[in-house]
């Protein structure tokens, strides 16, 4: 086989995947998502949530608060670990700390929106719901398993005031978040009202269809592998993205110290990119057919309002911090994501679909477990699990094992296991890893059954039965150790 042709084919597949990932619908998801992540990191004081995680907080407050905290506070993995350690050592104890540790990486706003747009809202929603349900479940189970240890160290740390401070999130911040979310949803919701063109005009230029044909020959669409190819619209957006990258480098690197000319240019380019992405652009014989869609109107209004609110209602330093955090996440995640997408794209052409279908093509215990183990042992940078998952999907993996993989991958990496071990010790870490494996497999199995068309009540019943069984086992273990403790205390055996 001609090696050169093979390599070229590989590169085309990689490029095709990358271009598809830079297409309009992804930009309309990721750009706003990064701004939301930055806002979560900069505009929400941690005390607003940690006040509910103190030692004296009742369980029905501390567990939900941990789950919410996992979503709001844990956008960056560098925040998760210290918070986890504090909640454990100085706050509400092992249970809520574990819930926080589990939910944080699982419902990362960037990962969820990216999953929703690239793979499907069903998986994204399943990811959120199952992570929170099982996050609380795993936390409760661990707090029951290790109740003795928990009570022991509770006494040690009673003098901590770390969780005593509170803070409130002002109403303007809530409104601001709703607007930012609106920008994200308006751009990505696949609903006729938003995606239909209400007026179309054609920009003349016979170069358009020729250019499109050339693009199709350089980066051919391949429906069998799920590659969409590059459109003229896509090339324009990629150009704008490069422009944002360059101007943001100069304008946002030190935005915490102040705005400069490039800051405004970069922000204007971001707004322009979102607007351009909202048009519906198709290359036709006469030129470029441009449609004015519902989402275009929505985005213009929403982005304008965001800009106005930021200027009028927020401290300049708060805005600077927001932009700095946003840019920091971009620098941390995007380069690795681009490489990851490219490699995952090439993998599509290399990995035989028959392998994937044989191992994970159907919703079995084994398939789900393999999905989980792959996520645990293969480390991928944040967000890269999405293109990897999409490659598997296009090669024939069932959606159940796919969810199992997506749940397990962000949770357990060698680094996170090591740090967790340093905080809670080997035994608890081992139990945690086992529980995450079990529940991710179970989640995948249940979701897969739902995808296959199983009765929703049956699934809900199955889940409830599983949880009940575990709770019974845990309660039995608990009472056994309690009786043993009492026996020891009274001096009898």
């Amino acid at each position: 086989m001609n090696v050169l042709l093979y390599v070229i084919n590989l590169l085309q597949t990689g490029l095709g995947s990358l271009a598809a990932y830079l297409a309009a619908h992804v930009l309309l998801c990721l750009l706003p998502a990064f701004f939301i992540a930055g806002a979560l990191a900069a505009l929400i004081p941690k005390e607003a949530i940690t006040r509910y995680l103190g030692r004296d907080a009742p369980k029905w407050i501390s567990y939900p608060a941990s789950a919410v905290g996992g979503f709001v506070l844990a956008v960056c993995s560098c925040t998760i670990m210290p918070l986890f350690a504090s909640i454990y050592k100085k706050g509400a104890g092992l249970g809520p700390a574990i819930t926080f540790l589990f939910v944080g990486p699982a419902v990362n706003i960037l990962a969820i929106s990216f999953t929703g747009v690239q793979i499907g809202m069903d998986i994204a929603l399943a990811r959120i719901i199952l992570s929170i349900v099982f996050g609380v479940g795993i936390g409760l189970l661990m707090s029951v398993f290790f109740r003795k240890d928990d009570e022991a160290h509770n006494d040690e740390t009673s003098s901590s005031r770390a969780f005593a401070q509170g803070a409130k999130v002002p109403a303007t911040t809530w409104v601001f978040f709703v607007l930012l979310l609106g920008v994200l949803i308006a751009g990505t919701l696949q609903v006729g009202l938003l995606t239909n063109s209400y007026a179309t005009f054609t920009l003349p230029g016979t170069w358009a269809s020729g250019f499109q044909s050339w693009l199709d020959s350089v980066v051919p669409p391949n429906a069998a592998l799920g590659i969409e190819g590059v459109s003229v619209h896509g090339v324009l957006l990629i150009g704008l993205l490069i422009g944002i990258g360059v101007t943001a480098w100069f304008g946002l690197n030190t935005v915490d110290e102040g705005f400069n000319r490039w800051t405004y240019v970069a922000l204007a380019l971001v707004a322009l990119t979102l607007v351009v992405a909202s048009f519906k652009v198709v290359a036709v014989d006469a030129g470029l057919s441009v449609g004015i869609t519902g989402k275009l109107v929505a985005e213009v209004v929403l982005i304008g309002t965001v800009w106005w609110m930021a200027a009028k209602f927020f401290d300049p330093y708060a805005v600077q911090e927001w932009l700095w955090e946003m840019w920091r996440f971009v620098k941390q995640i995007i380069p690795l994501l681009i490489v990851g997408v490219f490699v995952a794209g090439m993998a599509r052409a290399i990995i035989p679909a028959t392998w994937i279908r044989a191992i994970a093509g159907r919703n079995t215990w084994w398939a789900n477990l393999v999905g989980v183990l792959f996520g645990v042992f293969m480390y991928f940078p944040t967000l890269v699990e999405v293109p990897i998952a999409q490659t598997f999907l296009s090669l024939g993996m069932h959606r159940g094992p796919l969810l199992a993989y997506l749940l397990a991958d962000p949770e357990l990496s060698l680094q996170s296991i090591l740090i967790t071990n340093s905080v809670i010790g080997k035994r608890k870490t081992a139990v945690y890893v086992a529980l995450v494996t079990l529940f991710s497999t179970l989640s995948g199995l249940l979701f897969g059954a739902w995808v296959n068309g199983a009765n929703a009540w049956l699934i809900a019943g199955g889940t409830a039965a599983a949880i009940a069984a575990i709770a019974v086992v845990a309660a039995w273990l608990n009472s056994r150790s309690g009786r043993r403790q009492a026996a020891v205390a009274t001096g009898s055996h």
Binding site: E47, C78, S86, K90, R161, A162, F163, S422
Partner: protein, 78 residues
């Protein structure tokens, strides 16, 4: 004056150190700066999240990077 920056090396921790140094320099305060990166040493202080600013063993700020003016005020109150 002893100023400690608690944090494991994430970008915010570096930013806090920079702001703290500039604030001290602006005020003309002589201070020793220590970066505490070891996890167990960090958790010995009563904080919930990094980065944190500790002045003469008193935790002044934790979980965020304050503006230089705020740091100056904190340094001046002693």
């Amino acid at each position: 004056m002893e100023i400690k920056i608690l944090g494991g090396g994430c970008p915010n921790c570096k930013r806090l150190e920079k702001v703290a140094r500039e604030a001290a320099a602006d005020l003309g305060i002589e201070a020793t700066f220590t970066k505490v990166q070891d996890f167990s040493q960090i958790m010995a202080y009563d904080i919930t999240s990094t980065p944190a600013l500790v002045v003469d063993e008193v935790v002044k700020v934790s979980g965020r990077v304050p503006h230089k003016d705020e740091v100056k005020a904190l340094l001046q109150e002693g």
